[in-house]
Symmetry: C2
Subunit: 345 residues, 2 copies
Amino acid sequence: MRPTVHDIAAEAGVSLATVDRVLNNRPGVRSVTRDKVERAIATLGYVRDVAAANLAKGRSYSLIFILPAGENSFMRGLEAEVRAARARLAAERTEIAILCVPAFDVCAMADALAEARRQRPAGVAVVAVDAPEVAQAVEHLREDGIAVVTLVSDLPGSTRDHFAGVDNIAAGRTAGNLMGRFLGDRAGPVAVVAGSMLVRDHRERLEGFQAVMRQCFDTRLLLPVVEGQDDAALVEKLVSALLERHPDLAGIYSLGAGNRGLVAALEKAGRAEAVCAIAHELTPYSRTALLSGAIDVLLNQDAGHEVRSAIRVLKAKADGLAVIEAQERIRIDIFLKDNLPIEQA
Amino acid sequence: MRPTVHDIAAEAGVSLATVDRVLNNRPGVRSVTRDKVERAIATLGYVRDVAAANLAKGRSYSLIFILPAGENSFMRGLEAEVRAARARLAAERTEIAILCVPAFDVCAMADALAEARRQRPAGVAVVAVDAPEVAQAVEHLREDGIAVVTLVSDLPGSTRDHFAGVDNIAAGRTAGNLMGRFLGDRAGPVAVVAGSMLVRDHRERLEGFQAVMRQCFDTRLLLPVVEGQDDAALVEKLVSALLERHPDLAGIYSLGAGNRGLVAALEKAGRAEAVCAIAHELTPYSRTALLSGAIDVLLNQDAGHEVRSAIRVLKAKADGLAVIEAQERIRIDIFLKDNLPIEQA
DNA sequence: ATATTTTTGATTTACGTACATCAAATCTTC
DNA sequence: GAAGATTTGATGTACGTAAATCAAAAATAT
């Protein structure tokens, strides 16, 4: 049987009230007495029952998630994961509210953060737009003792408690390594399609990709980056142009969204097989393209993991507890058609 | 404020006792009354506070982990993860005991399972040896209503509740795909080093690897499998022989343990760079080899994830709850030197 | 209508911890 | 050794649910 506070009191030869004073370090205990109690705790191996403690304290966690609106598949998947987590955590004194704001809109995001602050939650998770106004709004939250976690996209200039997302430089490097090795001695240049260089993730992926290509595959010609604004139609136009201009194009690294356009362009040109395509994020579209061979490798961040990690960290930070960094590291998934997880309904 | 059972009683116009009868489906409630209560639950959006319920019930989970003894790096890492989880879960009414049994010893494992059964835990997690006696012992546990999860290595002939591990056929296919593409047009045969064909994981990895090589890279000569018994010294000897016999050896897939031997052989022959090596499990040794270039790709299963997943599933099964399959799927990590996680102390 | 069974209400205790109050005991200090 | 301050004990209530008891009410059977 696990020891309780009563057992500690008996073992230490003090009253329950004194044990309580020691456990919750309240004043009015002589150090000799405190020692006695602490020794009893150690010998009996007492650990506080957090469930009972939270019940007694009436502790509950209210969290707010701020996500970009719009029809980005990945972001909608992320939202679905937040909703799933909310349903599960309803039974565990944790309430989650979701705020959707227009994508890439600095003012809207700052406003949403201010609104979140007004609601005085225990913590806020935000897919951050990398702007000073947003960093400023995060500071205000932190000043009010609200835990803040950035999700997917970080905000390095701020004092956010934690970033729940992948190392995008490493992701870019990985893409570079795979591209270089997959192409081997095959001739032809490599193109990079980004969403926008204004977004931190994309800049970092590009940086990593270019670094590896320069370092390890320096004979390979790297074409200038084109920006598709994460828009499928624009991406298709740009990639079609690339394919036309470079009949010997060997590979394409698509580090943003809009993969539908990439695949459409490749297939219309009849070069889906010939060109080695590496893209990001597993969505219904990219899954199909991977299986058909139009895309060769998909790099992915698991939205479910990111959301669950963000929640764990927010709760821990709200209670002033340490987080296990190793457990909260979000890994870069590499999917080939052979290790694609079964599609879920 | 979240509604409580009292609120339900008030809303439904019945007593607390009746609400309790409905919630815990005890007998003695007319269906009309039951409906009233259920409607109140729905309208107020009541969800049972599991922490309070478990406290009241005095519910606690005792789990037993059965792991192979020996100096296998991966298994010791797994044990460390179990210990870490035990320390964390002590505060959450979950007690974990660890039983180590000699590796690959069918009798010892059956005995351990019988011993576990005697202790009447809520659940048992076991790194299963694939043998009928073990499956039989698992049946006995299940008959006693004890939840059973296989860990890392499955036991398909049994009625275990769940398998917490990776799809090893997919892992083998992934290795095959990467090997084929990394080698490209380079000439030379590919060798496979297994631990033992008596172990299910290894058989499955081999099956997947061979299938992809035959299917997609059929011009590549695949040498007959050699078995290194997961022993570094033996692996070194076998790989050295392979290197000598095949001066044009292009690649090696090591699907078992003993990577120290693999790397030693490659380095002594001065062919660490030239030969494309794909191996399994991230350990301090394999990490070094990946960074030095001796190993080109590491496939890994995250022991921490597997342990935490096993615990979640065991608790859910013990309570007769459903598990979220998507959340419990253990992914195959693919590590290149570029996406290797920071080493933890 | 009465007897019998079934359903419901009212109330209490318990789980392990937090927190508050007030009295009693023990220390300081002069 | 008395006055004051500090430390400790005893006790009660609360959190939200589970589970039990016994009485009261309502339904059903005779």
